[in-house]
Symmetry: C2
Subunit: 279 residues, 2 copies
Amino acid sequence: MAVVLTNQGFVASEALHYPYQERGLQFGDGIYEVIRVYQGRPYLMTEHLDRLYRSAEAIKLTIPFDKEHLRQQLLALINENRLTEDGLIYLQITRGSAKRLHLFPDCEPNFFAYTDKLARPLEQIKTGIKAITKQDIRWHYCYIKSLNLLPNVLAKQEAFEQGAFDAILHRDQIVTESTAANVFIVKDDVIITHPATERILHGCVRNRLILLAKLNEIPVVEAYYSVSDLLEANEVFLTSSGIEVLPVVEIDGKKIGTGKVGVMTKSLQDLYQRDAGLK
Amino acid sequence: MAVVLTNQGFVASEALHYPYQERGLQFGDGIYEVIRVYQGRPYLMTEHLDRLYRSAEAIKLTIPFDKEHLRQQLLALINENRLTEDGLIYLQITRGSAKRLHLFPDCEPNFFAYTDKLARPLEQIKTGIKAITKQDIRWHYCYIKSLNLLPNVLAKQEAFEQGAFDAILHRDQIVTESTAANVFIVKDDVIITHPATERILHGCVRNRLILLAKLNEIPVVEAYYSVSDLLEANEVFLTSSGIEVLPVVEIDGKKIGTGKVGVMTKSLQDLYQRDAGLK
């Protein structure tokens, strides 16, 4: 039976419930992370935990344990659940359980983390996916990995209903990110992605890939680009912990480049897979 | 012992828990309402229930019971809890309990409603409150009364830490609303408030007060106004189900008008109180 890690240690997953007066449930007053696990080994764990503590600070939430303790506990969670395949760790922390009032309550945060199996999307990585574009209607602090995900949910669902895998978001024509991934374009052998401002999540895979590209002397620019730049790009791809480096071969019904996975995208997939110990 | 209304009927409040895999808890994927109760009688209940169903439609959530059934159940809840004083009904509905994925799950929504006592803020209604101004960083669909309330929580907390009651929000200097109330200004005997666009909640008390003013030949304009209009106004007040018609006598350390509750605000408080059966 699966166990979940909480403030109170490991509990059976069926036993973990929260009262209806809970800040996550009533305000989305909390933050989260999703860490990729390959063959039982977490990937970019340090980067995810650093971001968790940054998100916490941004919403003035004090995590009641230190990063190294959390890391050890998450490794123990993988062991407890005998996760030896490809999977993920999901963790979240809210401001706690208290009578509903906007002002911060005087209570302990609620923390939980679980593991799950998650196969690599090999077919999509190989052949690419379709996307649509949509206005980015989210709040201004998208760099905080908060539980306020309703606009992301609605955009992802709309993409699905239109036969696409994801929605690529733009603020007044400037491409920001997708519903749960960062977006890169390739134009004349240069890789371009939105700068790490408050308007996008500073993705762990995004940052890693930029580093890997630079180490391999592939030109990367963090710069604003428009929806028309996106549609006219030679290649487009998404990055996230779940989908790795995922080619986008069609957007709004229009083929990107040749409509096939591009050379640059394949090179970056190769760099990613080597870095993650996948080849 | 207090009872809470749920999809499964009335349950003891201590017994109501939700699993950690819940759409409200992980995505804020739900909507809510707060209905004012005076001496055991709900005020503007029809308006609140109409808005609940509008919010549900906006996030593509199907409420699994009709409005009239819900109304009867909420009245029964007041009786069950023997709420004969001033109070409130809080109700929310999420997309349900399911394994975490952005796409809509195939499950029943989770609904609950509870009652609580809530005294009228008589002292603040009489003497007014202080506010600060802050950039409105929320998402674009503030007309949906969603559970994505983190920016509201953060702004309310910041106001509190600065010794103020609330934060009045503006998008690039255009005043929208406060963290949990609509904002009105009075300028040369005309009442002005932000139009009912997607950027603000269409407050039940807001709408009622506009109606009451018009019935009494008090000029009301729904129009955009700036932070400097706000600071230079003769009077400023907030409206919501909890705070009624609440005068704002100081903003960002600057006195509004004479720094006392204005004549127009008092007239509107009188109209509100008569309408709500309070005098």
